[in-house]
Every structure is written in structure tokens, then in C-alpha cells.
């Protein structure tokens, strides 16, 4: 099926070349990082995880979010989503690819990465994260490929694929739960030390993932002959609406617990993020922007008339995606490190090389996504050419 990715119009090749350029630049800067060390980033002794791990965390969410089309299709037999499950699965592949790359670029000694398997350590959450992410990647590759191939050949997918699909549905929340456990089990890091961290991660994941999917569906409709379908997009929009409301609700729960209990080691991080702490407030404008974007998106999404208007929906999804990205990709990780366990403040901002490497990884993910979506859309176009209505598959 991959040959479908080799035939495209000028816009397609233009996109591929742009992505390859970013990948190339990112790779070149990464070589520099390999040579010099992680000192070219903005990370420090106090903020020892930065932009890379934050992107990783956010993207695990996007990957898990893909399940929001797979689950209704297979567990609730919601047939309309049958048309777009492949998009959810392929989005998950691209997102997990980025996750793995972000882990690799964050390592100080990446050539020793296989030590994680040579000396398996079940008490380390990172060991489990490695397992769940790789299995999820594999599941989605196998499922996505087989189901799409079956669709192309106009047959039902092989019976052994079904148990894998059910597994992948359970696996999706697992990857983000384990990722949250990386943070929320650490003593002395008050910001993360909360049982609601995993639910919060999942809520923002199930908002951001499907929101991105809606945007991708709209783009596909505009540029290809395949229409993911109005009903499908509207159903996704409802999922996004619930998820983002729950996400903001969880955040407010957090704010209540922290500020009513007034335990300084829990309070100081939220203070740093939203009002500044001891005169340090680099992230304050970002966090309020994030809040404003998320709340605006809620307002637009809960009003049925607005949600049903696809232009408004696209706008709401875009600002929601940016808002949740700031929340997780900027605030969530460095917020947990500031102030440090000795109550000192070292602020963090990514450096230019760090941003270029990050862009390189994002470009790689979108490159994978472009290729996979091209294949998927190619098959969909083929099939609809053969048979005009394909509601049953």
C-alpha cells in the first residue's frame, strides 16, 4: 500500500519537502547536541526536564486520544466512525513515534538506551513507559495496516485482528496513565504529587487528540476526494467538548485542594505558574493565555449552533489544541521543577537549538502522519471509486 504515498500532486510534495527540511535542520542541530551535550538546551540542575519531556508528555496524550474514534466504533458499534478509525490509528502511530524520538533526544547517553532492556528494572516507571509505548505503537501499526488492507481488498479484516483492537482500546488510557505515574509518584515534588494527575492527563488527551483529528479531517476534506463525513466530525466535536470541560474541572479541583489546604510546597508551583513566585514569572502570560484559550474553546463548543458551524468548530479546535499544548507542553513539566526542592527558583526557557530539535521531531511526526494519511486517503478514494457507498465497512 505504501506505493500510494509515492503518487501525489505538487501540494503533497511541497509539504513533504518542507517537513524534510525541518527534519534535516533538527537533525543537524541534534548532532551538535550529541557532540556538546545537553548543555545547549535551557535545562539546568534544578529544571532537569524541559521542553523535550514536555512534548513527549503532550504527545502521549495525542496518541492516546486516537482511541476516541476506535472505542465508539468497536465497543459501542458506532458505525459512522468506521470511516475514520484508520485516521485515529495512524495519528497514534505518528504521535508515539514523536514520543519515542523525544525520549531519545532527551537522553544524555542515547547510545546506551538499550541498557533499559539489558537491565530491566520493574520498579522504575520509565521501564514500564518504554514497554507500554512500544506495544501501543506496534498494536496500531498492525491493526491500522491490516484493517486498511482489508478495506482495500474489499474483505473483512482477519479475525485475529479483533482481539488486538480490544487490547489497543485498553492500552490507550494505559500509556497516558503510566506517563502520569512518571511524575505523580515522586516525593517532594508537590505540583505533581496528586492522584488526579493521571485523570487530568487523560482528560486533556481526549480533548487535544480528537481536536487535532477534527482539524485533520477538515483538511483532508478540503484537499482530497475523501470526505471523513459531517456526522463523524460532529460526534468527535461532542467528545472534545466533554473532555475539555472535564479537563478544566480537574484543574479547578486541583486549585481548590492546593489553595484551601495552603500547603506551601504544593501551592508554590501554581503560584509560580499563574501569578509569579518571589519575583519570577516567565510562564505567567503563557499560562493565562492557555486558560483563556481553553475557556473560549469551551464556550464555543458547548453552544450547539457554534459547534455545528464547521468554521467555528475548526477555530475552537485550533485554540483548544494550542491551549492544552501550552498547559502540558510548557507549564506541566517546568512548573513541577520551579521552585526546586530547596525552595529556590531557577527559571527555564527553551533555547533556540532546543526549539529547532523539537521542531525537527514534530516535523518527523508529521512526515510519518502525512505518508500514512496519504496511504489511507488513497485507499479510501480507490474504494469509493469502486463502490460509491461504503457505509458498511
Amino acid at each position: 500500500m505504501l506505493e500510494l504515498a509515492l503518487k501525489g500532486d505538487r501540494k503533497y510534495w511541497g509539504l513533504v519537502i518542507v517537513l524534510l527540511t525541518f527534519m534535516g535542520v533538527g537533525f543537524a542541530v541534534y548532532l551538535k547536541q550529541l557532540d556538546f551535550g545537553l548543555g545547549i538546551t535551557g535545562m539546568s540542575r534544578d529544571v532537569s526536564w524541559g521542553f523535550y519531556i514536555a512534548q513527549f508528555t503532550f504527545l502521549v496524550g495525542v496518541a492516546a486520544g486516537g482511541v476516541m474514534v476506535v472505542l465508539p466504533r468497536y465497543l459501542h458499534d458506532y458505525k459512522a466512525f468506521g470511516r475514520i478509525t484508520i485516521l485515529g490509528e495512524f495519528l497514534a502511530i505518528a504521535a508515539v513515534t514523536m514520543c519515542i524520538l523525544f525520549i531519545i533526544v532527551d537522553l544524555g547517553q542515547p547510545m546506551r538506551i538499550f541498557n533499559v532492556m539489558l537491565y530491566p528494572t520493574p520498579n522504575s516507571v520509565l521501564f514500564w513507559d518504554m514497554i507500554v509505548l512500544n506495544v501501543y505503537l506496534l498494536l496500531n501499526i498492525v491493526i491500522g495496516w491490516n484493517v486498511l488492507e482489508a478495506e482495500r481488498n474489499n474483505v473483512h479484516y482477519a479475525p485475529w485482528v479483533k482481539p488486538l483492537i480490544i487490547t489497543s482500546i485498553i492500552w490507550a488510557p494505559a500509556i497516558h496513565t503510566v506517563t502520569a505515574f512518571l511524575y505523580c509518584g515522586l516525593p517532594g515534588r508537590g505540583f505533581w504529587l496528586t492522584a488526579i494527575l493521571a485523570p487530568r492527563f487523560l482528560a486533556s488527551a481526549f480533548a487535544a487528540g480528537p481536536a487535532l483529528l477534527i482539524l485533520l479531517c477538515l483538511i483532508i476534506r478540503k484537499f482530497t476526494k475523501f470526505d471523513p463525513g459531517r456526522e463523524q466530525i460532529q460526534s468527535l466535536a461532542k467528545i472534545v467538548t466533554y473532555a475539555i470541560i472535564i479537563n478544566v474541572f480537574f484543574l479547578l479541583c486541583e486549585v481548590f485542594v492546593v489553595f484551601y489546604s495552603r500547603i506551601p510546597s504544593h501551592m508554590s508551583h501554581l503560584q509560580y505558574l499563574f501569578v509569579g513566585f518571589h519575583g519570577y514569572h516567565a510562564l505567567v502570560p503563557w499560562m493565562w493565555t492557555s486558560m483563556a484559550l481553553m475557556v473560549t474553546s469551551i464556550v464555543l463548543l458547548v453552544i450547539p449552533a457554534a459547534r455545528k458551524h464547521e468554521g467555528v468548530l475548526a477555530f475552537a479546535c485550533a485554540i483548544l489544541f494550542i491551549g492544552t499544548w501550552i498547559d502540558k507542553g510548557m507549564g506541566m513539566i517546568s512548573g513541577g521543577f520551579v521552585p526546586n526542592p530547596l525552595h529556590r527558583v531557577t527559571e527555564y526557557m527553551p533555547t533556540l537549538p532546543e526549539i529547532l530539535i523539537t521542531l525537527g521531531v514534530w516535523a518527523t511526526g508529521f512526515f510519518v502522519l502525512t505518508i500514512l494519511f496519504k496511504v489511507a486517503v488513497g485507499v479510501k478514494e480507490e474504494v469509493s471509486g469502486v463502490k460509491d457507498t461504503c457505509e458498511s465497512c
Binding site: 551535550g37 545537553l38 532527551d106 537522553l107 544524555g108 522504575s124 517532594g188 510546597s265 530547596l342 529556590r344
Partner: protein, 263 residues
């Protein structure tokens, strides 16, 4: 321990020999068969090595008055272990350093604390916890707790994921953000440096204890820092703990730090 080492060594040797064909294997058997009575190689600890069931440290802060008083210990530690002196604050590497009461004992500070304590610099280092969070977090067992309580780093194995740094509630760990060598003024040839991309921290002078020497900081402290066996009621540290009121850092987290402060 020694037995299993020997076994795994023979296993490796055997596998390697197999890979090289049968002749070397036959040679090895012939060689060992010829001198059947020759004892097998052994690995063991130096007779002079200082040993304990659980190492701990007591720092008598009454003997310190200013930052200058702490410098000899810090310098001794950093010199012994080739700790680089990086000028960029973000990349700082510290095994033993000083900080104020309100930063060291974050859970116990209050506004009206007496002036001596308020302005007194405290020595801070890895607490060699009983239940170390860093060891729990490490995905490769590069950081591990020895049977004698010392929490060590295996620099050969560290992949530089920095999970241990997030897991340490005492900020005791540093990461090599760049090659440390150019920032070491005088190299101690008896101890390795580190390479970029690995985490490091105080090792309780495991390499000195192994040859019967006290930790470098203890040696330089004029008796203000004492190490010993926390499980031996007759040890000097236990005597100090019996006769003085001592505090530990963040005991409420349950990590069980093994460094005690007399205040």
C-alpha cells in the same frame, strides 16, 4: 557473591570461546586440566576496608560559624572526586555544598528562628536514604543501594534520563550538561572524571572506605563530621545521636535520610 561472579565470568568466557571455534576451548580445558590442583581466581575486599551494616553521618553544625569554615570540606570532596567547577550556574555540579537553614530544612523553618541558625551555613550532600526515591526511579539500576546503605552511581551504565534527579527530594544530584574535563583544575588521577550526559552525586567516598580511609570531608572537618555504623550501638555516630538532639532533612517524606545534623 564471589561464586556467582566466578560463574558468570566463566559463562562469558565460555561463550566467547565458543564463538571463536573449538580449539581455544580445548586449549583452555587442556590448560586448566594440566594444573588441576591450582586454585581458582578469587575476588575479595581489601583487608583494610572499613565496613558497616548501615553507613550514616552526623554533622555537628555547632562547630561551624561561617562559610569559610565549610570550604575545606567542600574543597576536599570536590578535589578528591574531580568535581568540575562550572561557571554557568545552570550546569553546576555539586557533591557537597552549603546552603541556609530555610532552604535545607524547608519543612522546619519559621520567621522567628534565632539569628545563629538563620545565618548559619549548613553542609548539604546526598542523604544515602534508607528508601531512596532515586533508586526506585532509575530504569537501568545505574543508581543502586549497596547492602551497607550507601547509594551509589554506576557511571558506566547511566543513560542520562535524569529521572533520579526528579525523584530526589533533596536536590542532591547533578547532571553533566557538557564535558566536565576542561573545568577540573587539578585532576586526581586515582579517581575517574565523568563524561557528558551522566548524572553524579556524593558517593560517601566508597572508594576511600574500600581502602580503609575515612571520607575526604570527614578527614578535613576536624571532627565536625563523623561517619559510622548506624546499626552498631557502640559506634561513634550512635553515641553522638544518643547524647545530642539531631534533625534530618524532610523526614516526613519517609525516605529515611542517613545524614543527621546536630543544631
Amino acid at each position: 557473591m564471589e561464586n556467582s561472579n566466578r560463574r558468570s565470568f566463566l559463562k562469558v568466557a565460555g561463550i566467547t570461546a565458543l564463538g571463536l571455534g573449538t580449539k581455544p576451548v580445548l586449549d583452555v580445558f587442556a590448560a586448566s586440566g594440566g594444573k588441576a590442583e591450582e586454585p581458582k581466581p578469587e575476588v575479595y575486599k581489601n583487608e583494610k576496608a572499613l565496613i558497616a551494616k548501615r553507613w550514616g553521618m552526623v554533622i555537628d553544625t555547632r562547630k561551624f560559624h561561617s562559610k569559610e569554615d565549610l570550604e575545606p570540606m567542600i574543597e576536599a570532596c570536590h578535589k578528591t572526586h574531580n568535581v568540575p567547577n562550572l561557571t554557568e550556574p545552570r550546569h553546576k555540579i555539586m557533591w557537597l555544598w552549603e546552603d541556609e537553614y530555610k532552604h535545607v530544612f524547608t519543612h522546619m523553618e519559621h520567621e522567628l528562628i534565632n539569628d545563629r541558625i538563620k545565618h548559619l551555613p549548613f553542609l548539604v550532600l546526598c542523604n544515602h536514604c534508607e528508601k531512596p526515591g532515586c533508586v526506585r526511579a532509575c530504569p537501568t539500576k545505574a543508581t543502586f543501594k549497596r547492602d551497607d546503605g550507601i547509594v551509589l552511581m554506576d557511571f558506566h551504565r547511566c543513560i542520562g534520563c535524569r529521572f533520579c534527579m526528579a525523584a530526589c527530594p533533596y536536590g542532591s544530584r547533578s547532571f553533566n550538561f557538557r564535558d566536565p574535563r576542561p573545568f577540573i583544575k587539578e585532576e586526581n588521577k586515582e579517581f575517574p572524571t565523568r563524561m557528558k550526559g551522566v548524572v553524579e552525586k556524593c558517593n560517601f567516598c566508597a572508594e576511600r572506605l574500600a581502602v580503609g580511609k575515612m571520607p575526604a570531608c570527614v578527614e578535613a572537618s576536624n571532627g565536625a563530621m563523623v561517619v559510622g555504623d548506624l546499626e552498631d550501638p557502640e559506634s561513634e555516630v550512635r553515641e553522638l545521636l544518643r547524647s545530642n538532639y539531631t534533625i534530618r532533612r524532610k523526614p516526613d517524606l519517609g525516605a529515611g535520610p542517613s545524614v543527621y545534623y546536630i543544631v
